[in-house]
Symmetry: C2
Subunit: 318 residues, 2 copies
């Protein structure tokens, strides 16, 4: 490798992200030194993206820089936490400076927009892979856990679902991908502001990474409940709606990579939250409710009820 | 993959490490929730080990579980921090349960010995690679930075140097590897207790991962100084000493992977620290001193002084 790991990190990353007052020591020593705020707890999550598994090896590095940070921030959002610090472990086949510059551009733009500082990392040579860890702050009693839903709680999702999965399907079939769909796959926007709005208010939350039903099952299992989804209420981009109208609901139900928030609200809190989200410009949609009976029931527009999730849909796996 | 990432993580990792009171929420939600202690700052570091680069793909998984955590704890030690939490991002070619069980055994034994809880992670399929991040606590004014050395400070190293590099050389030449050497390579012991003893007392510290001289250069550059090493004073295992006596100093000077602490002490503090280390059973050895003149000077046993570091030594690269 023509430049050492130290050169790489320093040259491209050291000043790419905002300088925060709570970072006593950033990149360049054995550890970063970080000062958490009093009265709040740390929310910490880590995700790895592997070439060929989570993205194509020839993916646009700028979009990849964005997405690899976005999927981690999405986990913070699902906890209701305020993002603060990030570390980046980057494994690269070679020190391709053009690739690195573009990657950092995408990474740093999102980090800057969210006020997140890169405080450490490791750069190694090997098969292309990205492991990111983010740290955020949340009041302990306000954190959005998966297991807090109650029977009768209303079920909501943000934005729209199925767009990323449909984009991937079109790409794999070498068909034209409308730009709005491509953005859903390559440039997911973590719902950080919505998560903070929901903190202390929603009874449970998760981000939609594995697929709407799969992630809803995690909430159901953690809460000891079941759920009903009314498919007619799902928020869908026009292209996704067209495929669903033709009878194929696999993208919105089983396609992953949407990075929307799926959350539950106690009925008596729903009106207030819906109004607050409207005021804040956060798009949310009620799609069903939690029930005592275990399992996820899909209520189709024609009234048919099924527990079978449409299968056979390729998406990037975790 | 026959078992999902959730199954993998839950089955092998969820209860493998100590349950700490400051972990409000561990594995199983979108984030871990962690309560840092008041009055101290977080020390955070991350390291990736890639098969074929940092270890052989057929390496003993139990030793690998130990080492991948050890190299991260070593960075905390070099900061003078008390280890607390760890996350593990594991990328595996397949869900080999035998391999995983052995890896967890090695990982959990060291985590348990150091009181560290695994609080999160990600398991993905792909080329074998391990990214670990550890969090520790340290009083902000006691943290051991690289840049605090002054001219005249005495230079110390813990344990012995060159053993891991010599073990690797013998393995690569398919020669017999004495067990003491093999342990140096496969089972490095992070100097956590020593680091905590040095916190607030040493003027600078770093762990020896890239090689004694390379890591000393980091201290020199961060402190704006140079250094002299007296080779006759280097603590060497008998096998390493024999090779050095034959004129080859590459293992102790340029070989990495020792994970000892290299640190500097103000002359007036040295006697107290040496006594404290002796009391605590921490082996340390004075090996030179810091100087105003830039560069690392090697004083050979025959009195020759050189700035050339013996080269051509293979070791696992970062």
């Amino acid at each position: 490798m023509p430049v050492s790991e130290f050169d790489l990190i320093r040259r491209y990353f050291a000043t790419a992200t905002p300088a925060r007052d709570d970072v006593l020591l950033g990149i360049g020593d054995d550890c970063a030194l970080l000062a958490p705020p009093p009265g709040r707890v740390l929310a910490v999550t880590t995700d790895t993206l592997v070439a060929g598994r989570h993205f194509l090896a020839d993916a646009d590095p700028c979009a990849l820089g964005h997405k690899s940070l976005a999927v981690n921030l999405s986990d913070l959002a699902a906890m209701g936490a305020e993002p603060a610090w990030v570390t980046l472990a980057l494994t690269l086949p070679s020190a391709d400076t053009g690739w690195l510059e573009a990657f950092v551009r995408g990474f740093a733009a999102l980090a800057g927009a969210q006020g997140v500082q890169l405080v450490g990392g490791d750069t190694t040579r090997g098969p292309l892979s990205i492991t990111i860890q983010v740290h955020g702050f949340v009041a302990p009693q306000a954190a959005l856990r998966r297991g807090g839903a109650r029977a009768g709680d209303r079920l909501f999702v943000s934005g729209s679902v199925g767009g990323a999965a449909l984009a991937l399907r079109l790409m794999q079939r070498r068909q034209a991908v409308p730009d709005a769909l491509r953005q859903r796959l390559n440039r997911p926007q973590p719902r950080v502001a919505l998560g903070r709005l929901l903190a202390g208010r929603a009874s449970a939350a998760i981000d939609v990474s594995d697929g709407l039903v799969a992630d809803l099952r995690h909430v159901c299992e953690a809460s000891g409940l079941g759920a009903h989804i009314e498919l007619a209420r799902l928020p869908l981009l026009p292209e996704v709606a067209a495929v669903a109208a033709a009878g194929d609901w696999s993208a919105p139900l089983a396609g992953g990579d949407d990075y929307e928030l799926l959350f539950t609200l106690a009925p008596q809190r729903a009106a207030e939250l819906v109004a607050a989200c409207a005021d804040a410009g956060e798009p949310i949609q009620e799609i069903g409710y939690m029930a005592d009976e275990p399992g996820v029931r899909l209520i189709y527009p024609d009234g048919r009820i099924s527990e079978d999730v449409p299968d056979g849909f390729d998406h990037f796996k975790s």
